[in-house]
């Protein structure tokens, strides 16, 4: 997901309009599959899909147009950069989406606020066929008596990791604390979203990622403030790709699958799973409460689990997929990647995010704004008041001059 700045995405989209139409190959589906999608009666309907940027294959297989070809349903595809962005767009109202792809804690929040619909699994036959039950535990929890798996189908799973450039960082780091090392001043990239960034400070402090104690959040915010003051990290999301691949930065925090992708473009990069613990996450398909085409949405989820499509996406996105057909496919190139498929039994202190109560969430957001918002303004007051004084002087001079001239003309 979260690759390349949305801006570059726009560029790519503009270019790809012309290009992909020729380069992507049509997938040869079996007669049975083709007939299944044709028989759903989705011809002429519309489906609004709201997904992470760069989170679907558009190169090898143009997934969206394949879906359109098979079902006759028109897909309106838009992307977001973070769960929080997606949520504010939804909560702001005025938009209507059918398919959303939130992460774990956001799925819980949407479920709690009754913003998503239960799935009719009889319309998603591929779930039973291809979903690897090993990942089922991730969606086993109940929120207000409602089981998450009744509402969400996992698309991908992953972890946060620490990426470093071996040209700058000679010794293999083992701890997140390297991000506070002043040796790498101006060379550090941090998550530009509150939960992921706080989780790093929380791991260092040995806290629960889902704590509701204000003093815990205060301590984590303090740590992040200290980092901002001493190391001057740059806060990015998808831009991390350009910045790490260009070799301008020494350290970055991001998601495991994306590391593989960056490493393809810059072999100097390496990664570690820091000893203090990491965040494990999943992203899942859910159907929005405002959906006008629930059947089409379920067909879409089902389609995303078709072996050919799931493989194409897995090869494109580089995240770990829970799709058995892909995991068992010999052509799948990433199965041996330790970054994408880490040995979970060896990871210590891995924690998942859960939805936080509203007041905690607000407190965290306010703290985050303060972490990012505080400027060193001591020298600035001087500049500001000098400017103000200059402007006042100019105004005064001008007014006096005008008055003088007036008098002069009157005489």
């Amino acid at each position: 997901m979260k690759r390349i700045a949305s801006l570059t995405l726009c560029l790519i989209l503009m270019l790809s309009l012309g290009v992909t139409a020729f380069s992507a190959e049509q997938v040869e589906f079996s007669e049975e599959v083709t007939q299944y999608y044709a028989s759903l009666g989705l011809q002429g309907t519309k489906l609004n899909v709201y997904n992470w940027g760069e989170y679907i294959d558009t190169e090898e297989v143009d997934v969206l147009s394949e879906f359109e070809r098979l079902t006759g349903c028109t897909v309106n595809y838009t992307t977001f950069e973070s769960n929080e962005n997606m949520y504010s767009k939804l909560a702001g109202g005025g938009v209507s989406y059918d398919i959303l792809v939130p992460s774990d804690y956001m799925v819980e929040k949407l479920l709690k606020e009754e913003m998503i619909l239960p799935l009719d699994y009889s319309n998603i036959p591929n779930y039973e066929k291809y979903f690897d039950e090993e990942y089922g535990y991730l969606v086993d929890d109940e929120i207000d008596g409602k089981k998450i798996s009744d509402y969400a189908v996992i698309y991908n799973v992953g972890t946060t990791i620490l990426i470093y450039n071996t040209n700058y960082v000679k010794e293999t780091p083992t701890s997140w604390s390297v991000l506070w090392d002043e040796q790498y001043k101006d060379k550090v990239l941090m998550f530009n979203n509150p939960r992921d960034s706080f989780a790093i400070a929380q791991a260092l402090l040995g806290q629960d990622f889902n704590t509701v104690s204000k003093s815990d959040w205060d301590a984590a915010a303090e740590l992040l403030k200290k980092q901002r003051e001493t190391v001057h990290p740059t806060y990015v999301m998808d831009e991390v790709f350009n910045k790490m691949e260009s070799g301008d930065y020494a350290l970055a925090t991001y998601y495991a699958g994306d590391y593989e992708l960056m490493h393809d473009n810059n072999p100097d990069l390496a990664y570690v799973l820091p000893e203090e613990g990491i965040n494990t996450f999943y992203d899942a398909f859910v159907i929005s409460q405002s959906s006008q085409n629930k059947k089409g949405a379920e067909a879409f989820i089902n389609f995303m689990m078709e072996p050919e499509i799931a493989l194409a996406n897995a090869e494109y996105i580089y995240y770990a997929t829970p799709n058995k057909a892909v995991l068992e496919n010999e052509d799948y190139s990433l199965i041996d990647s330790e970054a994408v498929y880490p040995d979970y039994s060896e990871i210590k202190n891995a924690q998942a995010f859960h939805d936080l109560p509203n007041d905690t969430l607000q407190y965290m957001n306010a703290q985050w704004m303060k972490v990012k918002g505080e400027n060193d303004t001591t020298h600035l007051y001087v500049v500001f008041f000098t400017c103000l004084a200059l402007i006042a002087l100019t105004v005064a001079a001008y007014l006096i001059h005008k008055k003088k001239m007036k008098k002069y003309y009157e005489v």
Partner: protein, 277 residues
């Protein structure tokens, strides 16, 4: 007759009046509503009190906006003067060149500076040949100011150019005939006559500079956080529309005050043809 023409003028104006009611007045009322209520819709002044946390950010924003505007003025003024006194075809071409970057997306233009200023960017790659650097050109206040000046300079040049090209040449000639030196021609004739242009250029550079968030995020790399960033964060990340709205309201009031000061310059009998575009 009288009545008819006023009806006709109302009819002609109605699309714009409708437009401004729908897209200017109504949103302003909504900003006011959000600023004075809490998440449940009850009246509260907490948002307004919450602004106190961001007073230093406000000052920083105005400081950055002022610096960017003054630099733009220093660059634009001699250029506009020079431009207004050259051949017609050269003028046409130069004005087009000034406007040319505006035909490209503001986002892309700003983003391009990252590849110019970055450690492996164009400038630093060039300096590396001589064994210099890499210089830290990106992710600091100077880069933000550069972005502001670069993006908003045309808005300073164009009104200045308009005022200067309309200026009566005979006034300058008369001053020269009466023995004024070049410097005093500029100081006593050109400068006072171009005040309306300076004022409108000032406004059009200062206002977007103070409220920008994209430039600071891309070129400041999170080191510089201006009020636009805080407002954007309140809406996009913190999902706190109420605080975001009250911050916007304060920003609007502050900009209005700045514009009020500027009106002192333009509100005179000599103010003609200033505000343009």
């Amino acid at each position: 007759m009288m009545k008819k023409s006023s009806f006709a003028s109302k009819l002609i104006n109605s699309p714009y009046i409708l437009w401004s009611v729908l897209f200017i007045i109504a949103p302003l009322i909504m900003v006011l509503y959000y600023a004075l209520t809490d998440a449940s819709g009850a009246f509260t002044l907490d948002n307004v009190k919450g602004i106190a946390d961001y007073s230093s950010t406000f000052i920083l924003s105005i400081g950055y906006g002022a610096v960017a505007t003054v630099i733009s003025l220093i660059i634009a003024y001699p250029f506009a003067y020079f431009l207004a006194h050259t051949g017609a075809s050269f003028q046409r071409m130069s004005v087009m060149l000034v406007m040319l970057p505006m035909w490209m997306s503001f986002l892309i233009r700003t983003y391009s500076w990252i590849t110019i200023l970055g450690d492996s960017g164009v400038i630093n790659s060039f300096l590396r040949i001589f064994g210099i650097g890499p210089l830290p050109l990106l992710n600091n206040g100077a880069a933000v100011i550069l972005g502001m000046v670069y993006n908003f300079l045309p808005y300073m040049i164009l009104p200045l150019y308009t005022v200067m090209s309309r200026m009566d040449r005979s006034l300058i000639e008369a001053a020269e005939d009466l023995g004024a030196s070049r410097l005093s021609v500029i100081r006593r004739v050109v400068l006072p006559l171009s005040v309306p242009g300076i004022a409108s250029g000032f406004t059009m550079v200062f206002v977007p500079s103070v409220s920008t968030f994209y430039i600071t995020q891309k070129l400041g790399g999170g080191q510089i956080n201006l009020i636009g960033d805080v407002i954007e964060g309140q809406f996009q990340v913190a999902n706190n529309y109420n605080l975001g709205a009250s911050l916007s309201l304060v920003l609007m009031v502050m900009i209005l005050i700045c514009l009020g000061i500027l009106r002192l310059f333009t509100d005179s009998d000599e103010g003609n043809g200033g505000v343009l575009i």
